[in-house]
């Protein structure tokens, strides 16, 4: 029982590999965050170690141990958590971590049938670390399976990719997520519809939202903030900009997420404007969307989307956050309501 939602091609590829006994020694799973890479990797680890004929059964001792993360032969390598006396976390998976793998690769499995090394976030490997894996990844001893997970394939060296079976996990279609949420997590239909679309095809994200209500609430709050600022004058906008960048240094992701949310909103406006309301993401606010789409013309909407994208890119490139946000505030689409602060 794989119990994986979606990713039919990937699962059946692995299934058939198991049947024929042609499981490769290295897999590279590529896909966006929360799409189910780790889930699939753990399942594969179970499958190659499972004791019952129908692999992975999820019932036998090995499967249970792996699911709990207690199996001695399954190693998960990821970014090290920062030690207590360090303020910032590590940004790279270190050479030492890889050395440990190289050492234990040569030891036979302790309790299971195969040793499985799952490297999460392979793009975080330093160049030296990735190179150290090359020879071992090409021709490891038997009974070893490497599973490399990455969200950003273009940061993985080509020499590594070429040594692995590459499996791409594409985002799931909306309706599959919607259905999964309805049947498995018993979410009410309206919320399921919204979450499916907000998740952009990543089931893990949607499930997080279901389990933690505050996340959805947060999204609503953020959106309300933006919408409140949209028709207001420059004074309020600048106050808002200052507020946005206040905690930027502690956590850069928040602002980026807020911008993404805003970008997504304007994409919806664009879709409504061009007459495709059935493809929008923010389905719970269709009325507001329609109203806003009515207020601006297509050029303005199109131009504003470019500006949000520019702002988000500039933030990634370490521009002064306050300046970037203020410029964005000045560049809000005008429909004649706001007078320029200069004149």
């Amino acid at each position: 029982m794989w119990t994986i939602i979606g990713h039919k091609a990937a699962v059946s590829l692995l299934e058939r590999g198991l049947e024929k006994g042609t499981i490769s020694h290295a897999y590279l799973l590529v896909g966006p965050a929360h799409v189910g890479k780790m889930k699939l990797a753990v399942k594969l680890a179970q499958a190659v170690n499972c004791e019952s004929p129908e692999r992975p059964c999820g019932q036998c001792a090995a499967c249970l141990k792996i699911a709990e993360g207690k199996h001695a032969d399954i190693q998960v390598i990821e970014l090290e958590q920062p030690a207590e006396n360090e303020s910032a976390g590590k940004t790279k998976i270190s050479v030492e971590q890889i050395e440990q793998i190289l050492h234990s690769v040569n030891l036979p499995p302790f309790e299971g049938k195969h040793k499985v090394f799952i490297i999460d976030g392979f793009e975080n490997l330093s160049i030296a670390a990735a190179n150290r894996l090359l020879k071992t990844l090409e021709e490891p001893v038997s009974q070893v399976v490497f599973i490399l997970l990455t969200t950003r394939e273009n940061l993985v060296p080509q020499t590594i990719v070429s040594r692995c079976q590459r499996i791409e996990l594409a985002p799931l279609p909306y309706n599959e997520i919607e259905e999964a949420l309805l049947t498995r997590w018993h979410v009410e239909p309206l919320k399921a519809r919204l979450l499916a679309r907000l998740s952009a095809g990543c089931l893990g994200w949607a499930v997080n939202m279901v389990e933690d209500d505050s996340l959805l609430q947060q999204r609503n709050d953020w959106l309300d903030e933006w919408l409140e600022v949209l028709p207001s004058d420059y004074d309020k906008r600048f106050v808002f900009a200052a507020k946005l960048v206040e905690k930027f240094n502690q956590n850069r992701d928040v602002l980026q997420q807020k911008l993404d949310l805003w970008l997504n909103w304007w994409r919806d406006v664009l879709l409504v404007k061009t007459g495709n309301p059935e493809t929008i993401t923010n389905v719970d606010r269709e009325e507001t969307l329609t109203q806003i789409a009515g207020e601006y013309n297509l050029d303005e909407i199109r131009a504003f989307i470019t500006r949000i994208k520019t702002a988000s890119r500039q933030l990634r490139m370490n521009a002064n956050p306050q300046l970037v946000m203020e410029v964005l505030m000045l560049n809000f689409p005008e429909n004649g309501k706001v007078s320029s602060p200069v004149r």
Binding site: A9, G31, N131, R132, L134, L172, N276, R302, T306
Partner: protein, 541 residues
Amino acid sequence: MASQVFYRKYRSQSFSDLAGQESVKQTLLNALKTGHISHAYLFCGPRGTGKTSTARIFAKAVNCLTTGGKGEPCNTCEMCLAISEGRAMDIIEIDAASNNSVDEIRTLRERVNVSPAQARYKIYIIDEFHMLSNAASNALLKTLEEPPPHVIFILATTEIHKILPTIMSRCQRFDFHRLSQADITGRLDYIVNAEKLKIEPDAMKMVAKAASGSLRDAENLLEQLVTFYGSDINFRQVQELLGITGDARVKELAKQIFHDDTRTAIKTINSVNSDGLDLRNFKRELVEYLRCLLLVKTGSPEAIDVTAEDMKELKELAEKAPLPKILKVIKLFSQAEVGTENHTVLPFELAIIDSAQKEEAPHQAAQPAPRPMAETTAHSAAPRTVHPVENKPQMARAYTPANPAPVHEKKDMPATAEHKPAPVAHFSALDAGSVCEKLKHDWRSILEHVPVDVKKNHTAVAILRSSGVTPVTFEKDTLTISLRYGYMKDKLEEMENLRVTEKIFSSYMGHNCKVQCILENNHLVKAALKLGAEIVDVEET
């Protein structure tokens, strides 16, 4: 694992097995035949082209007992078998990436002197050599130059630029090239026969194409196909695995774009996305289709290979679509940023909307950048750029830096600084003035569309972009630029920067022109000039 993956199972075991790399094979075989074996070889080339395999084959060839090291390894003698199975103690394969410290190399140096136990030669295969630390590489230098007679070094790397030149000069260097599609299909054919598979020739071609010259990639792909679809593989299955959509919706989308049916076009692209198709491949196919359209439109339909039915469709579409629009759409879509990191359809949607925009409109809406003030009535109506952007790179290339860049002595300054505040007196001054106006007007876009080969020099462009930098006069193919600050002027007058600046403006003007720099007069001088004063001398302060 119980079974090995294809690229390990079917690693080439003799030179005749090895796919491609004819020149490498020939050279090594000749060296073996004549006994001119070097003590150090350097194999470099992209992944999956046969470096490690060749190293191992060569190790076998020199040590083969049957042939006496004079040609192809026999693969049957005790020595060959031992090497193939990786248990020959005189063939030492080192992973330089994991053993990259000086200490490891020092141990290696000590052991080099011990003569081989069984084999004729002791062979060190040092793989991933580029990861060796600098100190470690240097520690190897002397040994690499004059090793004991029974030792051969084979260094293999994918990144030749990281190898010290002193290492390179001590080795015989062999460049491994990306394999041709024919080479890959040849090797795949062998695997297909050995595994008793069946695969359509077209499908095979597609696998070879997708591997982009790396045999290992091709073998991996074949293996996935076999695991997934069993031993009978057809063209459609390969397409499916590679995420290639087939062209129905590509054509639809192209049609909708040229009919300005934004609404349906967006619907189409969203349906492509929600079906879970690979957007990158879809983009590639769309651009390819648009290219066909372009070729049909420009009257060279014989250059493309499509069915008569498709050709009819293309021709119909080409009749309706104006050439500038085709060009614009191709540009928009080939610039749309879609990748594995970014699964949204937004770039496509924006491209669709942009292509439906009337000329100029998207440009102005997207870049409400402040225009230079010189927007006089006459020029605001004139087209924004006199020379189309497409021409610029060619022109820049046509420009040979053979004619000497003018070097300005500080002494010359007063002469060139003869500022003409109002271009009235000189008979060609009016003309020159308008060139300046145009330049001022287009300043920003000129700098934004700097030819790529020039762009590497950021200094000049950055200075030109700074405030207080304006063109003043343009006379006799010499453009005078005024700068507000002395250090900017000094910097811009450096040979290299001046050359770049000239290139930029030459490509804009369409013919070679020279550039002079002057300092901007301060406001007092300006006021005086306005009142009719003349500059007689300039003193450096």
